[in-house]
Amino acid sequence: MNDAQKQYIERLTEAELNGEPLPEAQSDEERQSLEQFRQTSAIFAELQNTKLVDEWQGEVWARIDEALESETGDGADEESGDIAPRNDADDKKDLHDKVDNVIDASARFRRVSVYGALIAAAAALLLVFTVKLAPMADVGEPAPAMKADVAMPEGSPAASGAREQDSRGTLLAKNLEMDEAEESVEAAMPAEVAPTSGNYGLRKEKFDAPMKMKKSADKGGFEGGEGYRNDMDGAGGKAEEAAEPTAADSTIVAGSPPKDAEKPGDDWGRGLMQSGKLQERPRMTAGEVDDNADFEGFQSFLRERNKPQLEPVDVSERLFVRILDADNRPLPNTEVDFKVGQQVVFTGKTYSDGWTLFHPRSVPLAAQATSFELEVRSGPLRSQYTIERGSKERFEFRVPVQRVLPARAQLDLVFLLDTTSSMADEIERLQQTIIGISDDVSKLASNPEVRFGLVLYRDDSDEYISKVYPFESEVAVFQQTLAQVNASGGGDLPERLEVGLHRSINELAWRPDATRLVFLVADASPHGRDQNEFSYSHDAMVAASKAIKVYPVASSGLSDDGEYVFRQIAQLTMARFIFLTYGASGTETPHDIVPGSFQPETLDALIVRIVREELAGLERE
């Protein structure tokens, strides 16, 4: 079906909806479309002419009368005519109880399933830590900041669990009560995530202390109109500094599991599943769309879904700039200043394929410019170019240097996870999926030097608002950390996504020569800018200026507002919007996705494929 046919069918649909005569077909293709249109309409018309024999209404009345009889038979007073103000609440409750048996039974079933899964997960986690982490706590010297919290209290469930590590059944039996299981897991957690460790875990009262939005070197670019620049100068020095606690963000969660501790084997994550400690469950399927590719559709989506509480960014104009070396190979991590006169309005950094993206209308100072001066900084070399606005959308510039890549491709991969209770049902599956991903990525044929980061967030008044775990190059250690994640808190919308995103972008020690990716997995939208000092749209643009791609993964239940935010973040960072899919064929999605525009696959396969694609630009000849 070509575009002309699609447009003709749209005109037919419009006419049908308005009750107008169908527009005549002008070509053979249109005649074919018209015939198909009529046939489809005939199917609908036939369905609408469903015949239900008249007796069905009698059946309804019979059931109603029967119910009313039992109602009165139970001693309810017969109201005199006016049926609305019935006051016998108990009687009404009985009646409704009978009617709602189906739904109640289903709900009970779901609750039992969820609790069962949570109990099993808690027991599995307890076993994991008693078997793996309890011995680790005694091996080697823990990081200094963790010392005080590493030792487990004698007699705690974790300590006793260590003595019972050979019997999973015993542990399960001991933890049938949910509260007990939760306590056990908390007690067994390593220091950096234990709520009792004073310097760790972001507490509400600390978060409420003044936290200035770090605009890094952009100096108020979001509203002040001076533009965006990345702040990752040199060899990541600033980023390293940012990872250190400061007066403003003294609540950073520091450290990862003890480096000197005995490390589990490479297949530890998979082993967890194979041993049944993490129950193997059906893999999640997902699809992805590139809103920069179907940009017209994306703009329609933005117009349709825009609301005052969201943070619209004017992306209607895009300037794609690609930097190539002397041999036409993409130059990654090359800074590109977009200037109006001498004023830098945006600093982009090229992704692994050499592209960077600037939205001129999103920056007030750039909005009226007729051209931009570009300064491309590749090592010591400075190259100047000019872009005439309105001429075209994509530009490629070749600079007279030879690309120099690290001996092995570097990959910094961060998982930014919503760990509020609404994610509880999916968190275990996510753990399995991410464990699989981390295994697969670490074994890619391109043999990248991978580091994994983890950032968690919840909401105000929860156990923590956000936690940042520094990059970890040992996949097994990362998997251990990940396996400790549980979901709790939240309970309403939105969640503190914007805090997690801000800290991911600004506080992790990203390597300057790495391919930088964030996978944001969540099912809720962030708080609006009026409710805090952070702005997800600002941080998405900062991410773009640092060549960090943020791939949002929409989990079940993501609202329309959430979808708007997720797709904005993806588009701004030249990433793609990922969404879980459902149904036997894996093609069902609640999101506004053009049917047939995606190919469902398992989530882990999809993410590994994306990682592979991101690294493809760095392949050596």
Binding site: K6, E14, I43, L47, V53, I83
Partner: protein
Amino acid sequence: MTEAEQVNPTTEPVRTTPQAGERLSEDDTRVWFEELMKTYGKRVGSYFLYRTGDEEGARDLVIETFFRAWRARESFRGEAKASTWLWTIARRTLAAYYENKTRRSPEVLTDEMPDMAAPEEMPVVERTTRQALLDCLETLNERVQRSAELVWVLGHSYVEAAQIMEESADSVRMRLKRARSPLQRCLTEKGIVGSQA
């Protein structure tokens, strides 16, 4: 005449619909409910038939829906449209039906259903066609699917569909315009519609 009636003259408003806050006498409630069944019974039946592909099941679900509607009649205060209210009940009834099927314990629902044989004069849309339509509509995202169900399967005007979905008529209209092409392509691929009549 409302916009809805202009667009879809077959829509028959329920005459005795309670106004906001109004409480009807028992007799008036019965009249209102009778008209409700007359007005929406066929649409609800179409919806269930299209979703289940099972004539007998669709009929049972219609009965169950209206029975539930009666039980929930006090929740209808006339503030929303009767179709919106009834549509919500229908969707919940269907959800319970599917949950039962998933759990393979149909007795929970069917125990309350009258035992009826499928009448011979049931709709003539073939099972394969219905299933193909169901499959094709399910490739659309949920909002598009709901819009299509309301307008094309249930016969609501897009204005009514918009009211039910609590959004603008323009949104529904735009969505349906975009949906028809992929739907038609899908039906063509499945051999349900073709260039020859």
